[in-house]
């Protein structure tokens, strides 16, 4: 088995109006060292208000965080 076959690629899903969902074997590091995480899928905050950063705690829903393009001309998809 090749290393590629034993380790499926990491995927990052950008959730509309929400976090980045990271699936796969990743190490999350910060200036102080690695940030421990046990679950296989993690949600990383991209709204900036989570109280458990870098992880999402759902608070983006309370602050009206939106990932919609602000420029209507840019909303191609």
């Amino acid at each position: 088995m090749t290393p590629a076959a034993s380790h499926p690629p990491v995927t990052i899903t950008a959730c509309p109006d929400g976090p980045l969902l990271v699936r796969g074997d990743v190490e999350i590091t910060a200036p102080g060292g690695p940030i421990p995480h046990t679950r296989r899928t993690v949600a990383l905050c991209r709204c900036g208000v989570s109280m458990i950063k870098p992880f999402c705690d759902g608070t983006h829903k309370l602050v009206g965080f939106t990932t919609a393009p602000t420029d209507p001309a840019g909303s191609g998809s």
Binding site: D17, L21, A43
Partner: protein, 361 residues
Amino acid sequence: MQLSFPIAPFQARGPLSSQLLTALSLPADGSGSSLGGFIVATAEALAQCQDIVNDDDLQLTLFLLYGLHYGDVVQSDAAWEWHPTTIVARVAIEQALESTLRSTVPQPALPAPSQDAVARALFSLTIDDQGPSLSRYLARKATAEQAVEFIVHRSIYTLKEADPHSWAIPRLTGRAKAALIEIQTDEYGGGHAERMHSSLFADTMRGLGLDTRFGGYVDQVPALVLASFNMMSLFGLNRRLRGAIVGHLAAFEMTSAIPSRLYGDGFRRLGFSEAITRYFDEHIEADAVHEQIAARDLAGALAEDDSLTLPDIMFGAAACLAMDGWVAEALLASWQSGRSSLRVPLPESAARPLAGTAVAS
């Protein structure tokens, strides 16, 4: 061979549950007379019932009947699980419960059957839900006794956390099944028994001096709390309701991360240690992940792949919010009028919420 089983650790609440509890302590074969007349008695009770979600006898009976499938509720002859009488009675009660829910829970507008539209509709349904807030009350006002009562009510579902939704696994296919497995794997601790969410909850109960056996506090909880668990079993155990169990899980996860922080805050405010709050702390991060998977990959994908389920996805979500609202209303009403929310007090030996000593450990 004469089988005999210990009597249940809780009391009957009327003629139906009384007859069933007695029957369950006896063998299921033989004459079967221990459940003689049970189907007729069930039909009569249903005909007279005005408010099924608050009917003690019917909800306890349904809880016992579903309990035959889960195990651990009462010890009994395993043959009762598929005994025709228990099945006929169960179906009659659950159909009445379903029709009440369908007529009382407002059916949300249906989004387009696309992943994105369904996810958005579920998020806006749950964020707009302006039900009474148990979590805010716990965070700011609850006494230690009320916090323990909250855990007692929660134990009816949470000691079986994830199990009612797991019934749906073989009833789904493809993307929705994979998404449900991804969520449930995490609920079950990623394969580590001590990290299963039900085990984390048992740790919290143990830390509060509570009995962690499933059903240990059935006597204490009102019909409504049994109804909220019965509703999940109803949705999970009927393949035709697979949309409803998926919608239920989505709404459940979407209303968990933020309240979990508030619950943890409440227990910390009361001086309880990290061992007590770990269950809630874990759920902040976990459910912020689960709500995304549940909304898009589970509910959204199911609606796309099996569009007939869409009305039930929205119904299941709305039923989850409605039921949680009714339970919260009942608990808050008791507490705000200075009463206990429990049907009967906790046994003397249980629950000494000694916050001061808990924090010192």
